[in-house]
């Protein structure tokens, strides 16, 4: 949902709905028993209720609904709206009979089976969230998991999370750590290729500077403004790798070719800024400006991509054009023997 701008009607509508309703993000906590009927046990039901109370302490949780609430409601109705009876009975026979009354008293049996299987071996606790943000969902999941590990469920019962918001955070975690790994490994591979290409460890090292500085600058900025590391950012960092190394190869390769011919450092520099330098700066400007229209999109990821592409191009262009020449100047003796 945060992929829409704050002012976008869809996001406004989502906020309004979540403020007034129990929450539009449905998460589930699945209780699984080993045998049929294990969901009728008062011990399990009281445990489920304790989990519900714990989760409700998180402000993102709009409401929780489970077979526990159905049982309490039936009891309340049977005892002519006596709210003191709105508790889970301590006798399994009564639980079974109350649920049977529910099945007898009309309505769609599927209403009940949203929360428990017809065999009563599994139950599904609805955890409605007001916010689908990964951080918010993670906080709810962590709170639940902490409670579950500190207060283990009754013998033979396993409890698992399910639902789209939960899948989202799992997916994001997988994706982000996957992206981080692939980014790190491509960084190493690119470095080795550079050393091989220039047949020089030093040149290989310097050629990595533009992309390293650019990626670090992006991450620093993202961290500074507090933007979560999500998919668009992950993709962008990989792109930076490719774009920035391009500039560096271009610059270094040309410089070496020219220098071989001129054997004069100042002359080489003049020549490279005339030709390759101009080409790189134009490349930077064209791509950077080309992505600017994305800033006017309603979808936040598009804005992110547009803004970051602009920044990536400018930063890596500047590093290539300013830092690389200064460094080569400084180490010219050892670089060009």
């Amino acid at each position: 949902m945060n992929w829409f701008k704050k002012s976008h009607p869809i996001r406004i509508a989502d906020n309004a709905m979540n403020a007034h309703l129990a929450g539009t993000y449905m998460n589930y906590l699945v209780f699984e028993g080993e045998e049929e009927g294990s969901m009728k046990s008062p011990e399990l039901l009281n445990y489920m209720y304790a989990v519900q109370q714990e989760l409700s302490k998180n402000e993102t949780v709009g409401s929780t609904t489970g077979v526990t609430d159905i049982i309490k409601k039936i009891r309340y109705e049977l005892y002519t709206a006596d709210s003191s009876k709105m508790v889970i009975p301590d006798n399994q026979l009564e639980v079974a009979q109350l649920l049977f009354v529910f099945e007898m008293s009309g309505g769609d049996p599927d209403d009940l089976f949203e929360f428990v299987t017809p065999e009563y071996d599994k139950a599904n606790l609805w955890v409605q969230l007001k916010n689908g943000d990964n951080l918010a969902v993670s906080a709810v999941v962590d709170r639940g998991n902490k409670f579950l590990s500190e207060n283990p469920p009754p013998e033979g019962i396993t409890v698992k999370w399910a639902g789209l918001p939960y899948i989202n955070i799992e997916w994001q975690n997988q994706m982000v750590s996957g992206m981080q790994k692939s980014l790190a490994s491509s960084f190493v591979v690119v470095f080795l290729m550079m050393v091989f290409l220039f047949r020089s460890f030093k040149w290989g090292f310097f050629s990595m500077l533009p992309l390293t500085i650019t990626v670090m600058a992006i991450y620093a900025f993202i961290g500074y403004i507090g933007k979560p590391y999500d998919m668009p950012v992950a993709v962008l960092s990989s792109l930076t790798l490719g774009l920035s190394i391009d500039f560096a190869i271009h610059f270094i390769q040309r410089l070496r070719v020219i220098h071989k011919r001129t054997q004069n450092f100042d002359e080489s520099f003049n020549e490279i800024f005339e030709g390759t330098g101009r080409a790189i700066s134009r490349n930077v400007m064209v791509i950077a400006i080309g992505f600017l229209p994305m800033l006017f999109s309603t979808l936040v990821p598009y804005i992110t991509v547009g803004a970051f592409f602009f920044a990536i191009m400018i930063v890596s262009g500047l590093v290539t054009m300013l830092l690389l020449p200064s460094i080569t100047q400084m180490f010219k003796k050892s670089l060009f023997k």
Partner: protein, 267 residues
């Protein structure tokens, strides 16, 4: 007002009852006979019932109960007493229905674990009976006057001559928009029923799977309701059936809900 009625009556006489009206009347009469054969067999009836609910995924749930029926009036009011035996955690639950031909049925349930008799809502007759694919109305019958009936065809079904009758509810009804009944001409029992939704899709199908003569009354021993819409089906098997046993009216009361009549109900 009286004058108007007389005039209308006279008009009707002059015009005569049209042939289509005659057919409708016939279909209604056939439906009534079928209803009496199916839901009002004998003056009373006693049977053990096994109800096996099979889900779409093939999982089975079994309910066993004894059912006592008393007809107060042939084709009219009836009383049903149900004593549950299985599943074991609901055994001794009893259930009472006073069915009226006007449609304002009354239902009570006795919950032994808390020793409580409670009236329960009887508004939705299309709702599921004990979580099965049969609705309350499939068990105790939807009164034939609530639908318009048309005789669609005379056919043969599994070697038996049947009437195919189409029933359309007079007032919009959740249970079905149209129903086709295949009624055995000889016994007047429904051999098959097909329920269609508002969009005219087949949603439910009833089949009479086994028919026997008990105490001189032809009875459907095994019947199945196929839930086409959701998948799955429920099969109902009658056992130890007896008719005209002289059931007394007083067992259909709250007192007997708590203390089941041992004469008819063996644990």
């Amino acid at each position: 007002m009286k004058k108007l009625t007389t005039t209308l009556f006279a008009l009707l006489l002059i015009l005569g009852i049209s042939s289509s009206n005659a057919a409708a009347a016939d279909a209604t009469e056939l439906m009534k006979q079928s209803h009496l054969a199916y839901f009002y067999a004998g003056d009373d009836g006693l049977t053990d019932v096994n109800m096996t609910i099979v889900s779409k995924k093939g999982k089975e749930r079994v309910r066993e109960f004894t059912m006592i029926r008393l007809d107060i009036e042939e084709g009219g009011n009836q009383k049903y007493y149900t004593y549950f035996k299985k599943p074991s955690d609901v055994s001794r639950i009893t259930f009472l229905v006073h069915k009226t031909s006007e449609g304002n049925d009354q239902r009570w349930i006795y919950i032994p674990s808390i020793d409580l008799v409670k009236p329960i809502s009887a508004d939705d007759k299309n709702s599921s009976f004990v979580g099965s694919d049969f609705s309350y109305e499939d068990i105790s019958g939807r009164h034939w006057i609530e639908d318009n009936h048309t005789l669609k065809a005379d056919e043969t079904l599994d070697g038996k001559a049947v009437y195919v009758i189409e029933s359309v509810p007079k007032e919009a009804y959740k249970g079905f928009a149209r129903k086709l009944s295949y009624i055995d001409k000889e016994t007047m029992l429904p051999l098959k029923e097909e329920y269609f939704s508002k969009k005219d899709k087949l949603v439910k199908k009833f089949t009479a799977d086994k028919i026997e003569v008990v105490d001189g009354i032809t009875t459907i021993i095994v019947r199945t309701m196929h839930n086409i819409k959701k998948g799955g089906h429920t099969t109902v098997t009658f056992d130890k059936i007896s008719y005209n046993v002289g059931v007394k009216d007083d067992i259909f009361t709250e007192r007997y809900l708590k203390n089941p009549p041992r004469k008819y109900i063996k644990k």
